[in-house]
């Protein structure tokens, strides 16, 4: 009999609520012969306030033993900006070499979008997850004085860029439209830009069926609101990916439905799956949070672990639920979870 050994990190704010629903749907969709084991970890603001710890070496050793990680949300106004982000979220992405940060965007019929005319949106962003301006390189001199200088260093390696570009080409090749767009700012960030562009063009030769395209990140934000249908797969740097995936989420149904996977395709370390939204402390504990993004993240998790049929059922359940949502009125977090669990089981 098979087993799925999951690390669960509810985290802060609405994290606990949405993760509960994610697990509910996971249990409902998993085949009977798969033994689901979950272990909860208490990372986040509470533990940081109590102990000063964000993520220790012992924590990393413990997490390593799981097949995958499901995360709710990390972040709280009581903790200074950057402490949990750099000390937990980014530390984990870097420690487990989550270099493929996968963020699909699909606008379903009937789902609200701020864009006029309900455009067709169905693309996936492959965001590099371990390099660029996210490495923490840089520093500050003469801090707090009028002569302070602060630097941030974006680090880009051929090794790091090639593996994510190759992953994105393979994903584009597997989709019906077979189109891959590189998003960068190679006219200004010429050092990193040339590296990305040259590797992209070289790897493209190995995928002759994939149509390629390049656009600057500033222009990409324009197309995301005027012509999102032009995108199929996008590959981009860590920071540009951070920015355009929030915009992509906003135009394709909101961050309430935006899922993400922090993936290590080699499976050397467990991959982590999390909704794109944050901890939303203003609505925490009120049963108002939408668990859909977490449920879709569970779908990405299942697909990553080889449960493609189960992942398809989750996607179909969410699609059906979203399409009918306008008629359903306001539902609580657990009501939405119940509805999705019923659909995937049925």
């Amino acid at each position: 009999s098979r087993s799925l050994n999951l690390a669960v990190i509810p985290g802060d704010g609405i994290g606990q609520e949405v993760v509960s629903e994610g697990l509910k749907v996971l249990s409902a969709v998993l085949p009977q012969d798969v033994k689901l084991e979950t272990k909860e970890y208490d990372f986040g603001a509470k533990r940081y306030r109590a102990t000063g710890e964000t993520l220790t070496d012992a924590d990393l050793d413990a997490l390593k033993r799981h097949d995958a990680i499901l995360l709710g949300a990390i972040g709280d106004p009581s903790v200074p900006s950057g402490v949990l982000e750099r000390g937990f979220l980014l530390k984990l992405r870097f420690a487990f070499d989550h270099h493929v940060n996968l963020r699909p965007s699909k606008l379903l019929p009937g789902v609200a979008t701020p864009l006029a005319g309900q455009p067709e949106i169905d693309f996936v962003v492959v965001r590099e997850g371990t390099e660029g301006p996210y490495t923490g390189n840089g520093g500050t001199i003469r801090k707090g004085t009028e002569h302070e200088v602060a630097t941030e260093v974006s680090v880009n390696t051929a090794y790091g860029v090639e593996r994510v570009v190759r992953d994105a080409f393979a994903r584009a090749q597997a989709r019906p439209r077979k189109k891959l767009t590189l998003v960068h700012k190679n006219n200004v960030l010429t050092f990193a830009g040339h590296l990305w562009t040259n590797i992209f063009n070289r790897v493209a030769k190995e995928f002759p069926e994939v149509t390629t395209d390049y656009i600057h990140v500033d222009a990409a934000t324009i197309y995301l609101v005027t012509d999102p249908a032009r995108f199929d797969v996008i590959v981009t740097d860590n920071l540009f990916g951070d920015i355009i995936t929030d915009l992509a989420a906003a135009v394709s149904g909101g961050i309430g439905v935006a899922a993400s996977g922090n993936i290590n395709p080699s499976r050397e370390f467990p991959s982590m799956f999390e909704p794109v939204h944050g901890s939303a402390p203003d609505i925490a504990g009120q049963g108002k949070a939408d668990p859909t993004a977490t449920v879709l993240s569970v779908g990405l998790l299942l697909r990553h672990l080889g449960y493609a049929g189960e992942a398809d059922r989750i996607d179909a359940a969410v699609a059906a639920d979203l399409t009918e949502r306008a008629a359903l009125g306001t539902r609580s977090t657990s009501q939405i979870g119940d509805a999705l669990a019923a659909r995937v089981a049925g």
Copy 2:
């Protein structure tokens, strides 16, 4: 009698067409007693291809003698990405210390926007223009090999950040809503983020009437499409400003109407005014380009030089023209210029 001694840089693609209309409107709006002198410069792709030059020391000396610079657009597919951007546009911004990159966004009634429900949009972005990831710091080792490493260094100084933050507070103070939002990514780019945030909070104390706000750049792209009315004045770093102003232009009428000023408030060097759009080689020479963004840039130029009444007349003429546009059918570049010139003169 007064004089206005203008450097004119038509540049590439549609640059010549839109600049002609900008000058047409400028002549029409200027008071009779102001002697307008213009000198045209041939910077851009053509000169680069002929001479290999983008902007020489002698060029900078010549430009320095003008009161202001009007630029159409620079860039052509025949020139490798980055050559004209770094060698001309950015070189000029840095040489003339254009640290206030001003980009207003206003959605006028009846103007097409990709957003549903015609939201209220009336804000201005103050983008830092001489620091951040735009300095050209960084480099490449082992170029072209599998061991290549490319870095980009974002440089942020207390001096550079404080002057632009102060400028933005003054602009917010002068507007009815008196609200200033800092956009950064201080939870990840903690070195630069702390510098920006600390200076922002310190300068805020000198402007007690101004309401302040902080949001991450990724979240800012969400608000720009879901709730653009929340913005009044935004101050941000060079790269974040580049990205969000293209999105801002897209939602508030398109880049055909987005103006910008590269301003040196000390007037030590002439400031440069240019439409946000590029050279659009695909429609160049066909009379299809919209000169509105250039005309609005002329308005920013006039306001910078102290011609506030004339700048108001340009804004009003553009507002009237845009509001009636849907009924007017397709017009050529020069027809739009003629209409605007007639309005400001009348």
